[in-house]
């Protein structure tokens, strides 16, 4: 594969994008998981699918070339993020309801646009399950821009995001502007989901945000350690998953998630044996 990566730009783009989302998805995922918002990624990925389907439809019917399906996906994802945050404000006592509402609207719109664009084709298949050969140079630049934006915001607002995730009331009393930071956070999530979809696909993007974090939480002692381990597990899964996907000719979404799941299973087993050993000793 190394030869192929060196020789084919599109594979190289995929590999770089994979490395970037392998970092971004678990990084944001750590905050998402501890805030008990794991399902938000599923909600947003389906809204992104609606955007992608809209883009495919526009491309097919009106040869809209200025915006690719990737662009319309990002736009829909950000709109979906704002809708979710507003709905969470409306249903204060049942905040989680915002996610199924957004998810079903996303799926509904996707079905309509896919049908209007004359049904499922190979393009949409690549968006659903990921692809090793779908990332153009301009896509890569967009993903790179997302990465810089997200990393800079997290570096600046790490303490605020951490405090809000742990105890929102205390954070608000301390003078943290919770509302603005929540919006910023969910928009970053929307961007990372849209970026990750090229690699892992709509249906599996939430897995890349939660499985590495679930694995890291079993062994990390601190919050910072959880982030670092999550990123290591995320990168490992992406690299192994992309290589396996390439050789086995399977969409990488599947191989990346299976690798993550194996890592999780192994970690749980090793932790169990380790604890049993400690208690025995």
């Amino acid at each position: 594969m190394l030869d192929a990566i060196l020789n084919f730009e599109i594979l190289r783009n995929t590999f770089y994008t994979g490395l970037i989302v392998g970092l971004l998805a678990p990084l944001l995922g750590t905050f998402i998981v501890v805030r008990r918002l794991s399902l938000i990624a599923d909600g947003l990925s389906h809204v992104t699918l609606a955007g992608i389907s809209f883009g495919l439809f526009m491309q097919k019917k009106y040869t809209l070339l200025a915006l690719t399906p990737f662009h319309t996906g990002i736009i829909f994802s950000i709109i979906g993020a704002i809708v979710i945050e507003n709905l969470r404000g409306v249903y204060k006592a049942f905040q989680e309801i915002a996610i199924p509402i957004t998810l079903s609207i996303g799926v509904g719109l996707s079905v309509v646009f896919i049908a209007m664009a004359d049904g499922i084709n190979t393009d949409i298949y690549a968006y659903l399950f990921g692809s090793v050969a779908a990332v153009s140079r301009s896509d890569l630049y967009l993903v790179l821009f997302t990465a810089v934006f997200v990393i800079v915001v997290i570096i600046f607002l790490y303490k605020e995001l951490f405090a809000l995730s742990f105890d929102e009331e205390f954070a608000t009393v301390s003078g943290i502007r919770a509302k603005i930071i929540h919006y910023l956070f969910i928009i970053m999530t929307a961007l990372v989901i849209a970026a990750s979809i090229r690699i892992v696909g709509v249906l599996l993007v939430s897995a890349l945000m939660t499985l590495p974090v679930a694995t890291a939480m079993r062994i990390a002692k601190s919050f910072k350690q959880t982030i670092v381990y999550s990123i290591i597990f995320g990168e490992f899964a992406v690299i192994i998953g992309l290589i396996a996907g390439y050789y086995l000719e399977i969409p990488p979404g599947g191989t990346i998630v299976i690798t993550s799941a194996i890592l999780l299973g192994l970690t749980l087993l090793i932790k169990k044996w380790y604890l049993a050993y400690i208690y025995k000793g």
């Binding site: 303490k159 105890d167 009331e169 601190s222 959880t226």
Partner: protein, 250 residues
């Protein structure tokens, strides 16, 4: 003595239900105020109003000489909530990381946690006798130890006023006395003004300098000693509610 907080004619409703009616009182600098009242008496609401977590409907509140609407908390006021014990136990954070959250108004990654901040965190941990647990996961600590960590988080930024809403919920009775002693120390040694919300009058009267009985409106505000010498009947009258004092041997 100057007034840190002045509450004047505050009335508050949730939908049609009136929870506070014409409440007025002042909190003096350096005092240790016990805010007591039965469940549903509006204790948490008045605290939320003072902390700016709830919008003022009628009346006025001044904090540090400024109307509460214009008061921006830059570490002057800190808070330990009753919910501190019900945070998700599996949260992957060490005690030290939890305390560092109290410095959010001062620190961000661009101004990295320098030795000075590290020193402040350890000083706060030492103050609450939890130094040796700095690197323990917060979920692995007992209810009383967790609450000490939350006190450390609240004092690490060196506040002038510390508000505690039912902080002993979930703390076993053995540790409750030590916990109140710690609060007295913060008040006497560091000069932090304290407002302690509780429904357990019996225990707190021995520690506080002022007692404030709230049941929709203020029923008593003064010396806890005078309150202790009253008969149960007099107290019930003041309290505006049937009440029983829980006495604790210590």
């Amino acid at each position: 003595m100057t007034n840190l907080i002045t509450v004047n004619g505050v009335t508050h409703r949730y939908d049609k239900h009136k929870v506070l009616e014409d409440v007025s009182f002042t909190i003096e600098t350096g005092s240790f105020v016990g805010l007591v009242g039965p469940n549903g008496s509006g204790k948490t609401t008045i605290i939320k109003l003072i902390l700016g977590l709830e919008k003022l409907q009628k009346g006025s509140i001044e904090a540090f000489g400024k109307p509460i609407e214009k008061f921006h908390n830059k570490g002057h006021v800190s808070f330990v909530s009753q919910k501190a014990n019900s945070f998700s136990r599996g949260f992957p954070a060490t005690a030290k990381e939890v305390v560092s959250m109290g410095l959010t108004s001062k620190v961000s990654l661009l101004r990295p946690t320098t030795k000075k901040y590290e020193y402040l965190i350890f000083e706060a941990l030492d103050r609450v006798n939890m130094m040796e647990y700095a690197n323990h996961n917060i979920g692995d600590l007992s209810g009383g130890q967790q609450q000490r960590i939350f006190i450390a988080r609240a004092i690490v930024n060196n506040p002038s006023l510390l508000i505690l809403d039912e902080p002993t919920v979930g703390v076993d009775t053995e540790n409750v006395q030590q916990f109140y002693q710690l609060l007295s120390q913060l008040n006497e040694e560091l000069g932090i003004t304290l407002i302690l919300v509780s429904h357990d009058i019996g225990t707190i009267t021995t520690h506080v300098t002022d007692l404030l009985c709230l049941n929709k409106s203020v029923h008593y505000h003064g010396n806890p000693g005078d309150f202790e010498h009253m008969t149960d009947e007099q107290r019930s009258k003041i309290y505006g509610h049937d009440m029983h004092t829980i006495t604790h041997d210590h």
